[in-house]
């Protein structure tokens, strides 16, 4: 083996490898199940509100139906839609999926299961704390919670606890991977476990921004301990976190596409070295790009915006690597299944398997999401799309499709694996994947077009906007058509989830996690792709270099002059 001296620090002190017992696995599966259950419950409320928004935009205002549920306005519904879908569904699902996948990838129990359990409890308490003020219309500040809109303090503390809980879960993962490395000196870290740890490390760096915003600015201000806040500083800290948040949503999907999906279509991971390189590059480049969300802001020098725009082009690179490696891995599978020709092999992919089909469709939508993302991040093009409906059109292709549809696909093997029940049913799940695909295609096409041609503003109650014109109508009808398909798809998804969970049809044989094998197991993997130091320090250095001077400046000139407003 060419990798003997990889883990020199541990040489000579190897611990006895620990493998999970039935009780360990049961515990892990319970933890994962709770996380995923909370995630799916949140999503069920979040998507329902999305349907109301789509109808409102097309001129059908049904918000009076929601008043008995104490949802009093479009914007309170929109806050729920954003918080539940973009923050709760994603974070809880990712934590649950990672807990399961880490243990099965390492074939080692969690090193400190209580730590992971504590993380889940903290996240759950935080979620409840944040949910109460939103439901009482005391936190109608949308999921970006830009001050000086001022929510009830429980909203800020609740969201902070969700983040802190996810940190604790991350520590649980790091301890487990560390223990595995001690027990396996000289072996390289399994791909899935390594990339989970990279994602959580990126998350640790990213969330520092929002943690400072919450603890330093918003919580003392909402408690009345300080009279004012600095909106620009708060925005900058938010977007320090906001862009890597996007990668926190995306990387779990990438882990499935690289590390699991090839197996599901009888393929192999084409180039494990480049797959690992892509993840290290995400760790390096996810954070120092946040000012591309603030191109339109006053008070940030154009030079910094420009530097971040260029770095964003850099973070496009690992996604383009992914496009090649993943497609090549899937092609290997299609050819093994008898696929022929330059493109004819596509038909031989495992389209009949809903878990596979959903994730492949998610990838196709992500192509458009990625192209749109490069436009958004371009210093010069952003002014044509900033804060128009183009933006939600874009992120419904990324977090709403690449991430969410992939997670649906994962659910179609993970929920049977967790419950021991047969999927209810393959046909319904396939229909779910395809309706989501076409629904998002129409929805986001309408939103992109309405934004770039008509300049319609995002997150506005467009059906009641005095400046809306007849020219908007065709696009809004198109989005409504998409929303209708998405509603059908969502109903199918919840039917499959509930049906599988309650089903009496037990699996004939247990489902195990699909793990893609490397195509070329003998290919040497350079040691620098298995070493944490250079990448982690590199990420910290780049973040400090790209954010340090401007954040120092903003803190140095901080003006806590904005009192809070509750104008909803």
């Amino acid at each position: 083996m060419a990798v003997q001296n990889l883990t020199m620090p541990f040489a000579g002190q190897a611990a006895v490898p620990v493998t999970p017992t039935q009780a360990d696995l049961a515990f892990t599966h319970r933890l994962a199940g709770w996380n995923i259950g909370i995630a799916i419950s949140a999503l069920s409320i979040g998507v329902t509100l999305g349907v109301f928004q789509g109808l409102e935009h097309a001129g059908i205002n049904l918000y009076s139906w929601l008043i008995p549920l104490n949802i009093q306005s479009y914007y309170q519904g929109l806050t729920l839609h954003g918080v539940l879908n973009a923050l709760v569904w994603t974070t809880f699902f990712i934590v649950g999926f990672f807990t399961y996948a880490l243990v099965h990838s390492l074939n080692r129990p969690l090193r400190y299961p209580q730590v992971n359990q504590a993380g889940l409890i903290i996240m759950g308490v935080g979620l409840l704390m944040a949910a109460v003020p939103i439901l009482l219309n005391q936190a109608t500040v949308l999921y970006t919670f830009y001050p000086p809109l001022q929510a009830h303090w429980a909203f800020y503390i609740g969201l902070t606890l969700v983040v802190v809980g996810s940190w604790v879960v991350g520590y649980g993962f790091f301890f487990t991977l560390y223990a595995w490395r001690k027990e396996h000196p000289g072996e390289r870290q399994p791909f899935i476990a390594l990339t989970i740890a990279i994602t959580m490390a990126m998350w640790q760096i990213a969330t520092i921004g929002v943690a400072i915003e919450m603890l330093g600015l918003l919580i003392p201000w909402s408690l009345g301990l300080v009279a004012g806040t600095d909106p620009l500083l708060a925005r900058s800290l938010f977007w320090f976190f906001g862009h890597p948040l996007v990668y926190f949503w995306l990387l779990p999907a990438y882990i499935s596409w690289y590390g699991m999906l090839p197996k599901q279509t009888e393929g192999k991971m084409f180039s494990e070295s480049l797959a690992r390189l892509a993840f290290w590059l995400f760790l390096l480049l996810s954070t120092p790009v946040g000012f591309h969300h603030q191109f339109a802001d006053p008070g940030i020098p154009p030079t910094w915006k420009f530097i971040h725009s260029l770095l964003t082009m850099g973070v496009g690179f690992p996604s383009m690597l992914t496009a090649f490696t993943v497609v090549a891995s899937l092609e290997l599978g299609a050819r093994a299944r008898g696929g022929k020709g330059y493109l004819g092999w596509v038909r031989r992919l495992a389209w009949g398997d809903p878990s596979y089909a959903a994730q492949n469709l998610a990838m196709i939508l992500f192509i458009f999401g990625g192209i749109g993302g490069l436009i958004n991040a371009s210093y010069s093009l952003n002014t044509t799309v900033h804060n128009t409906t183009w933006i939600p059109g874009h992120f419904h292709l990324t977090v709403g499709s690449a991430t969410t549809l992939t997670f649906f696909g994962i659910c179609y093997w993970l929920i049977p694996a967790l419950t021991g029940k047969k999927l209810f049913t393959k046909g319904l799940a396939l229909a779910q994947a395809w309706t989501w695909f076409f629904g998002m295609l129409f929805f986001s096409n309408g939103y992109h077009a309405l934004g770039i041609y008509e300049g319609a503003p995002r997150r506005s109650m467009l059906g009641a906007a005095p400046y809306a014109t007849a020219a908007w109508q065709p696009y809004l009808v198109e989005t409504l058509f998409g929303v209708t398909l998405l509603l059908i798809s969502a109903i199918l998804f919840f039917t499959v989830v509930i049906g599988t969970t309650l089903s009496w049809r037990k699996l004939d044989k247990a489902i195990t996690m699909p793990i893609a094998e490397p195509y070329d197991p003998a290919a040497p993997i350079p040691t620098w792709l298995d070493r944490w130091g250079p990448w982690l320090y590199g990420a910290i250095f780049l973040t400090l270099a790209s954010y340090g001077p401007m954040l120092f400046n903003l803190f140095y000139h901080m003006q806590l002059t904005s009192p809070g407003f509750k104008v909803w």
Binding site: Q4, F295, P298
Partner: protein, 300 residues
């Protein structure tokens, strides 16, 4: 790529195993993959060059550091450039405007800016309360408006017409009603506007058209309901309203023009009514039509 995929490049055959140290640090890259990497890098490099070209040679400017101020006194006369609506000519064909964004009621001050065709308009924009956005229709002006900061931006208007400027950042329950207009006028239009203004004064003493008014009422319906039945928590019912019955048309037009601020002691709804219901483009004649429509809702 099909040929390359048939055989793994490194068959684990024992004797061909490379020297452990050779290739130890080198990254093995497949031929097609290497081609793809070069394509990717070239694409991203072309994008980068395009962005640099656009922002230098084509002169696309983003807002930067301009000025900071205390948002608490932005609306206070004598303490701020933004207290009074201000549009001034600063040179030949050059104008500047100071715009103040405000929530509850959700308005820009000034909400209507008249400039002649071909003029260059420099804008200084700030907020007196929460974050707002500012996007002028059919232009590249698309900026954020933050309390405590002044956003400086500019545009040239070569075509006559009405350009909406719209708030595009969520700023509270009335966000979607927040907009204003830049009216770019030809000399003939300026003359005509004067004549129309006189006609509207005459109209205001006349009687409105309830059918036209019903069409205009769509805006009011956001808060008052489509049939004027009112919406709980937003607008009061206008059907059989004692308030309506007790006032003349001219008084009602004057009331709608002014709106009802939240701190008005007569405000019993708990929410502000913005001037002209949030649509600064409504003329006195339009308002009179709306009043005529509201009169049809009075059955007693």
């Amino acid at each position: 790529m099909s040929d390359a995929l048939h055989q793994p490049p490194h068959q684990p055959t024992g004797e061909q195993t490379p020297d452990p140290m050779a290739g130890h640090e080198a990254l093995h890259i497949d031929r097609y993959e290497s081609l793809w990497i070069r394509i990717s890098m070239t694409t991203l490099a072309v994008f980068t060059v395009a962005v640099i070209y656009a922002s230098t040679a084509m002169g696309i400017q983003l807002p930067g550091m301009h000025m900071r101020l205390d948002p608490r006194v932005v609306a206070t006369p004598g303490m701020s450039l933004f207290a009074e609506p201000k549009v001034t000519q600063i040179g030949d064909g050059e104008y500047e405007a100071y715009i103040r964004a405000q929530a509850q009621p959700w308005i820009f001050t000034p909400s209507e800016i008249h400039i002649p065709v071909g003029a260059k308009l420099t804008l200084y924009i700030t907020s007196q309360d929460v974050q707002h956005g500012f996007h002028i229709d059919r232009t590249n002006v698309n900026v954020m408006v933050l309390p405590g900061q002044v956003t400086k931006t500019a545009a040239r208007f070569d075509k006559p017409g009405v350009y909406n400027f719209i708030c595009h950042e969520y700023c509270g329950i009335g966000h979607h009603t927040m907009f204003g207009q830049i009216i770019v006028e030809t000399p003939e239009m300026i003359a005509e506007a004067t004549a129309t203004a006189e006609a509207e004064v005459a109209l205001a003493t006349g009687v409105g058209n309830p059918e036209k008014g019903q069409a205009r009422f769509a805006l009011c319906a956001g808060c008052h309901g489509l049939g004027g039945e009112g919406v709980k928590g937003l607008g009061k019912p206008l059907v059989d309203s004692a308030f309506v019955a007790g006032r003349t048309d001219a008084e009602l037009v004057a009331f709608i023009k002014q709106g009802r601020a939240l701190d008005d002691p007569a405000n019993t709804s708990g929410i502000a009514m913005p001037p002209k219901g949030g649509n600064p483009a409504l003329s006195d004649g339009d308002l009179l039509d709306i009043v005529a429509f509201i009169r049809t809702l009075q059955t007693q």
